[in-house]
């Protein structure tokens, strides 16, 4: 019953959420084409580094590695940047939280939505790489919006779970950043599953982020819609993350103005 109230209140503030997204994007792309170029260029540069590293230093053969790698980087950037930005968003809006009664979820939600917009823009250079490497363009690419939605719900859940903690303790953002870089190496973003030693494979296999990542990357790299079982598992993870995150956020919501 209480969650109904929150949903209704969020619905009432939907124009606010959209305005916050626009403000985020305006700050990022303010008056300059550089902001826009950077969103597209940064993943390409990271990819180039990885291509050099993994095709000369650590050898493994993965056909059209740039596509594999870039798809992974785009996903990871979205995931990690949205989580950190969600955590920062409450503190950044402390003045409002002190003076205006509103459902505090609007800040993490707006953050994740602007992340989705950035991710969508970054799909442009991915398209260019697909064309440049002669990667077949399959209809499975049309599945991407669904994959992005699953990734966004999962990310929002994590953001809701972690952002109140960042209000209560200042060092949580740093801890989570370290945790995220560890998680990045436990997720097959730069490397294929096949090179993971058998002993460690279960860690990577049961990493929920891998499941979400593959739902995003399969349609791009393998040109196929992920099998229903994989999709089901990913949706399950996203649902659990969202429910737990929303519940934890609600529980701490009243305390936020006291600490922020």
């Amino acid at each position: 019953m209480q969650s109904c109230g929150v949903l209704r209140s969020l619905l009432r503030h939907r124009d606010l959420i959209w305005a916050l997204v626009q403000r985020d994007l305006r700050v990022r792309y303010k008056r300059s084409t550089m902001g826009l170029v950077w969103t597209m260029l940064q993943p390409l540069l990271t990819m180039s580094v990885m291509v050099v590293v993994f095709s000369t230093v650590f050898r493994f053969d993965l056909p059209r590695y740039p596509v594999y790698c870039l798809a992974g980087i785009l996903f990871w950037n979205f995931f990690s940047q949205s989580i950190v930005a969600s955590m920062v968003s409450l503190r950044a809006n402390a003045a409002i939280l002190h003076k205006v009664p509103l459902p505090k979820e609007v800040f993490p939600i707006a953050t994740v939505i602007s992340g989705v917009v950035n991710l969508s823009l970054a799909l442009v250079p991915l398209g260019l790489i697909l064309l440049a490497t002669g990667h077949p363009l399959r209809p499975s690419l049309l599945f991407l919006p669904v994959a992005i939605l699953v990734a966004a719900l999962f990310t929002l859940g994590m953001g809701l779970l972690l952002s109140p903690l960042a209000v209560f303790f200042t060092d949580v953002v740093e801890m989570v950043s370290v945790g995220l870089s560890l998680l990045m190496y436990l997720t097959p973003i730069f490397y294929p599953m096949a090179i993971v030693p058998d002993r460690f494979r279960f860690v990577v296999r049961f990493n929920p982020v891998r499941s979400i990542l593959e739902v995003f990357r399969d349609p791009i790299y393998f040109g196929k819609i992920p099998p229903l079982t994989h999709l089901g598992v990913a949706v399950g993870f996203a649902a659990v993350a969202l429910l737990v995150g929303a519940w934890a956020f609600r529980r701490n919501s009243d305390k936020i103005p006291y600490y922020v």
Binding site: A19, V100, P101
Partner: protein
Amino acid sequence: MTADPVVDLRDVSLCYRLAKQRIPSLKEYALHWVRGALVYEQLWALKNVSLSLSAGERLGVVGSNGAGKSTLLKVISGVLKPVEGRRAVRGRVAPILELGIGFDYELTGDENIYLNALFLGHSRKDVESRYQDIVEFSGLGDFVRSPVRSYSSGMLARLGFSIVTAWVPDLLILDEVLAVGDMHFVKKCEERLAEFRRSGTTLILVSHAAEAIRRNCNRCLWLEGGQVRADGPPDEVLALYAGSSAERPGA
């Protein structure tokens, strides 16, 4: 009057927990928790405050600095949830705890009208329908198209007040906002308050200016140390309050 009260507080208490050692980091928190040495100083900003306001009542709140006035307004407006007691507020609340809250200084006045009203829970369509009225009342003219960072504090206050009061609320909460702005603007604000009075809006006004309370209120609450010292007609309560501050010169 048999109607439900607009504001109903029952035995509301609220305490800010100040850690003796400031514990802003999880690491330190864990260390102190393990040692069992986490000591908190409790600061009771409100203690057993009960208050009931019916539609159309206009309450002035007085008290020295740190008496809990702003905290009381935060509880009524729903920003802070009290630690103990019950809070019930009916209808549309327009809280002005600070003018121009949420203004983005890089955006124009125009854009801030939208942003600010959206923070207050209005929809974009709502704002569009009141936009002209807001700009007119603020008296900013062509300045609405300039970035807010170029505004004077008076202009900011005018814009902020114009936005919040563009809609007739059931309950209007004002914290010291009539103190800013020039005479002309204060007069305009009070005219608007008079309009609201005619539409039956309930008002809560915190002010250090006894005169403002006499003019705008028909009931007065004196808070001291988070507790209600007096509650009654403005003239009586203001006289008591003035008497007590005369006893403690400089307080």
